[in-house]
């Protein structure tokens, strides 16, 4: 998967090339709300307006949509053992590749956010591919992605995973249903 993403990202702008958020191509298929970057920074530590973060996000979007990597992602998701595992793995791989291609410029505190953003896109791709990921699938993918993040850093996630596994997947659906439309 990493190779596929790497390949698709080969045509993306070099890490040094900054693309202003306002000039983001509209044919990228990116959700409108994602194109309009929020005027963040009010929450202190986590500033999504960080240029490196924006660049990494742009890089990921371009690779996914402009360079057609989304099709590969959809195919990978269809052939994955489960949608949840596929989404988590792909989101992690994309995040890692983006981080690598941007020379690790994304601040530590924004790596998690970047992973969430990318996972959201992967989830959207899964929906578009007709895989219809369920809330518990997305939650499981998120869990897998977090565990891989920690695992790649040498953290023993055994007990953490056990604790996470204790959460009833059905609760995610319940929680979503309680959300205002």
């Amino acid at each position: 998967m990493a190779g596929l993403i790497q390949e698709q990202m080969g045509a993306a702008p070099a890490p040094g090339q900054q693309m202003p958020a306002g000039e983001m191509p509209q044919d990228m298929g990116m959700p409108q709300e994602m194109g309009q970057m929020p005027a963040g920074g009010e929450d202190g530590d986590v500033d999504e307006e960080n240029p490196a973060f924006q660049q990494a996000l742009t890089f990921a979007y371009e690779a996914l949509y402009k360079n057609q990597a989304a099709k590969g992602v959809a195919q990978q998701l269809k052939s994955a053992p489960s949608v949840a595992d596929g989404m988590g793995d792909i989101a992690f791989e994309i995040t890692s590749v983006v981080d690598e291609r941007t020379d690790g410029a994304v601040p530590d505190e924004l790596i998690g956010v970047l992973g969430m953003r990318i996972l959201e896109e992967v989830g959207e791709i899964a929906e578009a591919a007709g895989l219809d990921p369920q809330p518990e699938d997305v939650a499981s993918a998120f869990k897998n992605m977090i565990l891989r993040f920690l695992g790649e850093q040498g953290v023993d996630t055994t007990q953490l995973q056990q604790a996470m596994d204790e959460v009833d997947p059905a609760d995610f659906r319940k929680a979503l249903d309680e959300q205002p439309a």
């Binding site: 959700p31 709300e33 929020p38 963040g40 009010e42 929450d43 202190g44 530590d45 986590v46 999504e48 890692s96 590749v97 981080d99 690598e100 690790g104 994304v106 530590d108 505190e109 924004l110 790596i111 998690g112 956010v113 970047l114 992973g115 969430m116 996972l119 959201e120 989830g123 959207e124 929906e127 990921p133 809330p135 997305v138 939650a139 998120f142 869990k143 977090i146 993040f149 920690l150 790649e152 850093q153 040498g154 953290v155 023993d156 055994t158 007990q159 953490l160 056990q162 604790a163 996470m164 204790e166 959460v167 009833d168 609760d171 995610f172 929680a175 979503l176 309680e178 959300q179 205002p180």
Partner: protein, 297 residues
Amino acid sequence: MSKVVKKVGRAIAKVVTGTIKAVTRVVKGVVGAVKKFAKSKIGKIILIAAAVYFGGAALMGAMGTSGAAAAGGLSGMAGASANIGAAWSSLGTAGTALMGGNLSGAGSALASGFTGTAATAGASAMPIAAGLQASGAITTPVAGGAATSTALAPLGAPAASTAAGYEALAGAMKTGSYIQAGSALVGGVMNNSAAGNQQEYEAQQAQAARDRYNQNVGTSLWGSAPSAGGGYGPAPAGGAQYDPVAEARAIGDRYRMEFDQRYGGGVGQVGMINRSAYQNPGTNNGFPVFNPMTYRG
């Protein structure tokens, strides 16, 4: 190389620090993204998952229309924003527990985020947390009046003034006992591990000593039968190839040859102690010859 991968070495080298950084790094951003996320269905689910796994029940309640957020006059995303501090506190508990090597405690803190103390107490998380505040168990309310994670509630707080306070205190104490039990468990495991390592080392040393003994015991260093040269037979397989009798004869021959060479004689020639000359000392070089074989004193 990805930063995620690059940090593996450092994380291993500094396990504790790495653990803290790992948890902080990933989840700090997760919590911070709450306000700007969750417009799409997928995003909402991810946010919920982040809240459940890292934010605990407090943030979950804030994401809905009930709970402490509602009690505090907040709802929806406003409530979520108000309860980010609660999520961070719960996360901090997990991070602190991990920092101390108390993974069980971290597990308990995370697990209680959704179904832990709230479910145990038979009530929703928010009233419990609110009750804790009412009882004084929580002395530092977070933004928006939302309650923090019960996992952080200090034990030994003032007696609860309300039924909810008692209930909340029980929940907090139970969570605290989880963490204490986890700490004891980890400590016990570590002690057992050290003792096990020592036992294993001693067993290895004992086995090595037994192996050496079994290898050497009963071994004949020299053959039991005399050899033709006066020594003993060849050593058995594994024994030392050393014949002390042959060695003594060789030394004697060498001394005799040196003596003969020094005094003009040589092996095979007439010399002071040449055996062939012993019979006729007069034919020697004209020197008086001391023949120890014939000397009678």
